[in-house]
């Protein structure tokens, strides 16, 4: 097990985090969504604790807690008074080895997760559109299915599936533990050793991750639903978290859409042609373990033709592939990303996420120290090069939202 400890004195609190190498990329068709559903089951009690008692105890000791699942990791955390660190360590170690789940406790949680899927994907304006974008951009790699899973799979997951998942992925040797806060590193280390030391390692999970083949031509799809606006969401394949090209790509995204002097804002948002127009690829440490996607999307204003808007945006992207950024634009975006990164360091929690997720996704937490120098070293030629390399039309996938009437919406079948 990897243990990372950061001493920080600003406040009498500590962030305790356990990151497991368990994300939707480790799933297979038929059991999509199990990683996330299982995250919920981790709150269902152990030999000593009743269901949801974990949360109650942490909160009753002045802590806040939660968990989240991504394509690459499942993470559990408690932010609490620094003198309560041992409580969090003990309870996390307890549920790592003594989780008690039953077929009865799975049923209500299955419905909770299906409700969460409706909340986040089905009943949001663009949730299903983005699901389709990933399903189209990735043909072979597991990033093609959503973290929350397909509804049909959620209905069919079994208690046995959950137990197998627990046995396979929930072991100390598959985890990165992070502590950031007002603690002594030596004492914190001893505490973790006391509770995790006796927990045996498990055989490393067998990893069969099918890599995505290079895309050889634009892919397009249309999604029809009731909507006030038309929109398009597009993606370009880009490298994984540890790749140095992500720094100039981040600068490129900034030039396109960070702030009110950005190209997208000035050309489309400001004059009211687009409700929103954006280029993004995630900020450190939320960059993917395997090659990810840079997304460009625009929501057309009601009176604007989506086709024209999309065409104009591709022309702007083409400009980036032809002309290097000016020195002024480059230094502006560099300062923006530096400032954004510094602001993200304000909480112990986020400092912990940076260390934990760089360790888990890239294999080395020290890469977080490269972020600011990485941005600083980017040249206009770097940005031009990555624009030419990754923002090619052949590397592009586009899904458009086409608004339809209620009756046409109904005729197309139930959304789930």
């Amino acid at each position: 097990m990897h243990l990372l400890i950061g001493e920080a004195q600003a406040l009498p609190i500590v962030s305790y985090q356990v990151h497991f190498a368990a994300g939707s990329r480790f799933e297979r068709p038929g059991i999509t969504g199990i990683t996330h559903l299982f995250e919920h089951m981790m709150f269902k009690g152990t030999k000593e604790l009743g269901p949801e008692e974990f949360s109650r105890i942490i909160q009753a000791n002045g802590g806040t807690l939660n968990a989240f699942t991504t394509t690459d990791n499942t993470s559990y955390y408690e932010n609490l008074p620094a003198d309560k660190l041992e409580l969090a360590v003990r309870l996390e170690a307890d549920r790592l080895q003594n989780l008690q789940i039953t077929p009865e406790s799975l049923e209500p949680e299955r419905e909770v997760v299906r409700s969460e899927r409706k909340l986040r994907s089905v009943n949001t304006p663009f949730g299903l559109l983005i699901e389709q974008l990933y399903a189209l951009a990735y043909e072979q790699h597991p990033y093609r299915w959503p973290v929350i899973g397909w509804d049909h799979d959620l209905k069919n997951l079994t208690w046995e599936d959950c137990l197998e998942y627990y046995r396979t992925y929930y072991a100390p040797n598959n985890a990165v533990v992070v502590i950031v806060g007002n603690v002594s590193a030596d004492a914190a280390w001893k505490t973790v050793d006391k509770f995790y030391g006796p927990i045996p390692s498990q055989p490393h999970p067998r990893q069969i991750i099918t890599p995505e083949k290079p895309q050889r031509g634009e892919k397009r799809a249309v999604f029809k639903k009731v909507s006030q606006v038309a929109a398009f969401f597009s993606s370009f394949h880009i490298p994984q978290i540890s790749h140095p090209d992500l720094f100039p790509l981040q600068i490129l995204c900034g030039a396109l859409s960070a702030g009110r002097s950005s190209r997208f804002f000035e050309k489309w948002e400001k004059p009211g042609k687009a409700v929103e127009a954006h280029a993004e690829m995630g900020h450190p440490p939320f960059l993917s373990m395997d090659p990810g996607l840079l997304q460009i999307y625009a929501i057309a204003s009601p009176s604007v033709s989506l086709a024209t808007l999309e065409q104009e945006i591709w022309e702007e992207v083409e400009n980036l592939r032809q002309e290097p950024l000016s020195g002024e634009e480059l230094s502006k975006v560099k300062k923006q990303v530096r400032s954004y990164f510094l602001r993200s360091l304000e909480t112990f929690f986020f400092q912990g996420l940076l260390a934990g997720l760089y360790q888990l996704r890239a294999g080395d937490f020290r890469l977080l120290y490269n972020v600011l120098p990485g941005y600083e070293s980017v040249t206009a030629e770097d940005v031009l090069r990555v624009a030419q390399k990754y923002l090619r039309p052949e590397n592009r996938t586009v899904v458009s939202l086409q608004p339809v009437s209620h009756s046409e919406h109904e005729d197309l079948g139930e959304l789930e």
């Binding site: 949801e52 609490l80 909770v112 409700s115 009731v226 002097s261 004059p271």
Partner: protein
Amino acid sequence: MNVGSPLRTFMLPKVVSPLLPNGLKVHAVLKPELPLVSIHLIFPYGAEADPPGKAGLSDLAAEMLTLGTQKRPASQLAAEVDGLGATLSAHAGWDATSLHISGLSEDWEKLMELLLEIHTRPAFPLAEFKQLKQRRIAALVQQKDESQVIADERFQEILYQGTPYDHPVYGNLDTLPTLSGEEVEEFYHSRFPPEECFLVVVGDFQVETCCRWIETHFPSVPRRREAQAGEFSPVSPSGIKTILIDRPDLTQSQIRLGHMGIPHAHPDYLAFEVMNYVLGAGGFSSRLMQKVRSERGYTYGIRASLEGRKKPGPFIISTFTPTQTTFPCVQEILAVEKSFIAQGATDQERTEAINFLTGSYPMRFETLSQIAQKIIQAEVNGLGLEYLSAYPERVSAITLEAMARSAREHLYPEEMLVVIAGRAGKFQRQFEQLGAVEIRE
């Protein structure tokens, strides 16, 4: 102020609050861990000051400040802000309007200059106004697809009908198209008087140097007067009233139930906060979450909250559930609340609530913006800054009796406004069992 055991000693960040010789009040907090600074200029009026039929005027006037000054057109201002890696925003809230700029400490003086310039020399360019209005109208049209926002908005509009809180801060599609640039400019001059504003500066900077700079450059403040909010005469509902917003395309209903609560400075506010942790604000520790989510599996999340405002803020229970469980879910919520009022909290629940609220209190002062917001809220809602340091001790003193009384006196399960965005036809009949039902588009 010390809280709890010696190990858990928490010193509230030191707030220096000089009244500068030029009459301006400043709250400065030194937080040197990161080279960042966050500056807020606050006016004690917000969207409640929008005249009748002019919903959105305050917020529009605020944003117009960021869209050009007599010295710089909007594009140049935006380029300067972005060039500093800074963020600039101006928004109306309830009871306050905030001009905010934040960026790197090395640029604190430039940030101050820009804030001062938009405050004292706004240009209100007509072309910018037209574009801003167009952007906001387009955003509101798109927002019709957001069922959570629709449910929140409709709930508050109906709940506060006839009071200054009766409209969304950013206006609506009836009012926005009618507002003119001249109106916005005139409103700014009458409603953003310099004598009532105050500054909050938090971050890594030299407090004395900064205060001297402010004193030298900010205009002197001639006199102070009491902030005037619009008239507030809450309408008391009678019985449970249900409004169904028909959205046949949704597979899940957005549910809001509640009524007006008590103002933030009300003597029972803290007792209500501790009580409501047990009822619905305490996550998995709350009665509503235990019953509606964990036992019934009706929803992914449910929460009861009382928003602290200068005047009575809304008490809202918010959740969502698939269409077929919409009515059972609401029935369950009402049953939980009634039984809670009848039985009260247990001693253990009280202790846990107090431990949470006091133990997690330091985490509410972790970022520059959190610290600034705490100070602004205390000032605007009339709590006074001493409230911030006295909070843990006062919360710890809340008794079971005080909690029970706040539940009896300030919760009205029989007088709820229920607003649901979803497939109205699927559950309209069921809701008629509770009282009057109205369907709206």
